[in-house]
Amino acid sequence: MATLSLKNLKKSYGEAHVIKGVDIEVEDGEFVVFVGPSGCGKSTLLRMIAGLEDISGGDLEIGGRRVNDVAPKERGIAMVFQSYAIFPHMTVRENIGFGLTIARVKKDEWNERVNEAARILQMEHLLDRRPSQLSGGQRQRVAIGRAIVRKPQVFLFDEPLSNLDAALRMDMRMEIGKLHKQLDATMIYVTHDQVEAMTLADKIVVLKDGKVMQIGAPMDLYHEPANLFVARFIGSPAMNLIDVTVRETTARGHVVEAASLDPVEIPTATPGRAGDRLVLGIRPQYLTPSHDAATGKLHGKVAFTERLGTETILDIARADGSKLVAALPEDALFSTDDEISLTFDPARARLFLPEAG
C-alpha cells in the first residue's frame, strides 16, 4: 500500500505528444479510475506508472519515492492486462505463482501464497487446469491471482473486463470491488466504460487527449461536471445539453433562454454577460414531463418512448429539431407525438461555457 503522485507527467513519441502534463495524487488504499475515450492516453499513463513506457517529463512518485528510472519490479506494482497475458503452457497454479518463481521463493512459501491467492479468488478447484480449459472470466481471475500473490503496493488494471460479456463483466466488477476492500490496496483502474468508473471508483480521473479534464469522487463528477466534456462523458443516459443565450445576469446566476425554453434563472458561478452563448446541462433524471404546456419551461414533442422496466426513457424533439432525453422512474403515460412541457429544478441544472471552435 502506498500513495502515488504524478507531477506534470509527460510522454511523447517523437513529435507525437501523447500525455501532455498530468497531475494526479492518489491516496493510500484509494481506488482510482482513469476514464476517457479511446486513444486519450489511459493505457499509456498506466504503462508509465508500471514502468513499461519510459517517462518523457515530470515526476512519478510511489510511496514518496521518485521512481521515474526504477525498473518495474522495484516499483512494487502489479499489473493486470486486458488480454489477460497468462502463460498458455503453464497450469493455473504455475501462472499464479509465476512472480514467486521468478523471485525464487522457497517451495513451502510458494505453495502457501499461491493457495492463499486462489482462496481469495475462489479458484482452488481450478489450480491444475490449463488456461485453454478456462472461461474468459476465470482467465482474468488467474491474471488477478498472479497480481495479488506478490502483495504489491499498487495494483494496475488496464481494461481488465472489456473482453468479457456483459453479465460476467458485472460479476467481475463486483469481485474487483470486493477485492479492493479485502486487500485494502491502492488500485488504479483504466476503463472507457463510465459505469465501471462510477461503480468502482473512490476517485475518477477523466482524461481527454492526454490531459486531465477533471478529478473527483464519482458523485461530484456526476453533479458538478467541470466542463462539457465531463458532462457528456459521465452519466447514462447522457446529460441533455441545450445551447442557450444569457438574457440577463442576476446576483445568483444568469437568466437564460432558447428557442423552446422560456426564460429561467439558473444559479451558477459560470461567468457570462447578457447576450453570451452558454450551454445548459440537465440530467435526464431531473426532467419531469407534463401534458400541460403551461407547467414547464421546456417544450417539445415526444419522439418515442423506451421502457426499460425500472425506468422509462422519453425521447423528446424540440422545435428546432434537437433532441432531449428524460428518464422517468416509472412507466409514464406519454405516447409518440404528444406535445409536452418539461419541468426542472434550476438548482440541479448546470451552465457550461461552450467548447472552443
Binding site: S83, F87, H89, F98, G99, A103
Partner: protein, 357 residues
C-alpha cells in the same frame, strides 16, 4: 466437408490437377518405381533381361559379419610375434574368400577392427563404402541438426529486436539461403583450399604464422568437418527465419507481464520464449533432419565422396551407384533405405515431442 470437397469443387480440382500431376509424376511414381527396382537386378543400360532378385540388393548393402582373429601360435602354443612384438594374425581374406566354413562372410571386406586382449575382432561388411556413407550421414545429421537449430535460434533472438538497421542483418543472414548450394560449395572450395585458401590465410594471420596450412577438403580427418561447417553456415538463415516467425507469434504482453515480475533475460527465455516456440522447434528439428539426411550437392561439388571415402553419404552413394555405375537397382535400394531411416526418425521425433496431456 469431404463430400463437398469432392462434389461441388470441380474447378478446384482442375486447378490442383497440374500440381498433383507433377507431384505424382516426379515424387510418388518414382518412389514406387525405386521400391520395385530395388527388388530386381535392373541396370541402367543392359542387354540382359531384368530378373526379380528379392532382397538380394539389401543384403549386398547391409551384410555385416564379425570375425574373431586368434593370434597365430607355434606348435608349443606360444604366440608368434613380429619384429616389433605385436602378435601375428591370420589374414581376413582367409575367411572371406571361398572359405567353405564361413559361406555368409563370402565376398565381404574389412570395415574396421579392434583389439581385445590378444584376440582381434574384425567387422567385415559386404559393402564397406555404403557403411562409411551410412556412418558419415548419421554423423552429419547428429552434428548439423542441433548446431544449426541452436545457431539459427540464437540469430533469430538477436534479430528479433527493434533496432535501427536490423533488416540489414536479416538480409545478410538470409543471403546464403538464396544463393544456389552449388555456387556456395564452389566458393567454399576456394575458402578451404590447401595452398592459398582464405581459411588458411586467416588462421595463419591470426596465429602470427604459427598455423600450418591444412588441405581441409583433401585430408580425411578434416573433410567431413569442413563440409559440416559450411552446410551449417549455408542453411542457418533459412531456419532463423522459421524461428523468427515462431517468435513473432508470442504475444508481446506476455513479455511485458514477465518484465513486470522482474524476470531476467534467461528466465524470460525459459518461461516465456521457449515454451512458446515448442511447435516451431518440432518443425525445425524435423526439417533439418530431413534436409541433412539428403546431403548431396556439397559432397558432389567439393569432394566427390573422397578423400578415401571420408565424405561419402547415402544420397551421394545412391546417385553414384545408380548413374555412375549404372546399377539402378542398387541405387534404388539405397534410396529406399534412406527413406525408411528418415521416416522412422521423423516418427520418433514426433512421438518424443508430442503434446503431453
Amino acid at each position: 466437408m469431404a463430400s463437398k470437397l469432392t462434389r461441388s469443387n470441380r474447378a478446384g480440382w482442375a486447378f490442383a490437377l497440374p500440381g498433383f500431376g507433377l507431384i505424382a509424376l516426379f515424387i510418388i511414381v518414382p518412389f514406387f518405381f525405386a521400391f520395385g527396382l530395388s527388388l530386381t537386378n535392373q541396370r541402367l543400360i543392359s542387354p540382359n533381361p531384368t530378373a526379380f532378385v528379392g532382397l538380394a540388393n539389401y543384403r549386398d548393402l547391409l551384410g555385416l559379419g564379425v570375425i574373431t582373429l586368434e593370434p597365430e601360435r607355434d606348435a608349443g602354443g606360444q604366440i608368434l610375434r613380429g619384429a616389433d612384438g605385436t602378435p601375428d594374425y591370420p589374414r581376413v581374406r582367409n575367411f572371406t574368400r571361398n572359405n567353405p566354413d564361413h559361406p555368409r562372410l563370402d565376398g565381404m571386406r574389412e570395415w574396421f577392427r579392434w583389439q581385445s586382449g590378444d584376440t582381434q575382432k574384425v567387422v567385415v561388411a559386404k559393402d564397406v563404402v555404403f557403411m562409411k556413407a551410412l556412418v558419415n550421414t548419421f554423423t552429419f545429421v547428429l552434428i548439423v541438426a542441433p548446431l544449426q537449430a541452436g545457431l539459427a535460434l540464437l540469430l533469430a533472438l538477436l534479430i528479433n529486436q527493434r533496432l535501427r538497421g536490423i533488416n540489414v542483418f536479416r538480409t545478410i543472414y538470409f543471403m546464403p539461403v538464396v544463393v544456389s548450394i552449388v555456387v556456395v560449395s564452389l566458393l567454399w572450395r576456394f575458402i578451404y583450399s590447401g595452398d592459398n585458401g582464405l581459411l588458411n590465410n586467416i588462421l595463419s594471420v591470426l596465429s602470427f604464422g604459427l598455423f600450418r596450412p591444412v588441405d581441409w577438403l583433401g585430408n580425411p580427418s578434416t573433410a567431413l568437418g569442413a563440409i559440416i561447417a559450411m552446410s551449417i553456415w549455408q542453411a542457418v538463415g533459412f531456419h532463423m527465419v522459421i524461428w523468427l516467425s515462431g517468435l513473432q507469434t508470442i504475444s508481446p504482453t506476455l513479455y511485458e507481464a514477465a518484465r513486470i515480475e522482474g524476470s531476467s533475460p534467461w528466465q524470460t527465455f525459459r518461461h516465456v520464449t521457449w515454451p512458446g516456440l515448442r511447435n516451431t522447434a518440432v518443425l525445425i528439428l524435423i526439417v533439418i533432419t530431413m534436409q541433412a539426411f539428403a546431403i548431396f550437392a556439397q559432397v558432389d561439388v567439393m569432394t566427390n565422396g573422397g578423400p578415401r571415402d571420408a565424405t561419402q553419404t547415402l544420397v551421394f552413394q545412391a546417385v553414384q551407384r545408380g548413374y555412375g555405375k549404372q546399377d539402378i537397382s542398387g541405387g534404388s535400394a539405397i534410396s529406399v533405405i534412406l527413406f525408411l531411416i528418415v521416416l522412422s526418425i521423423s516418427l520418433v521425433q514426433r512421438w518424443l515431442t508430442r503434446e503431453k496431456n
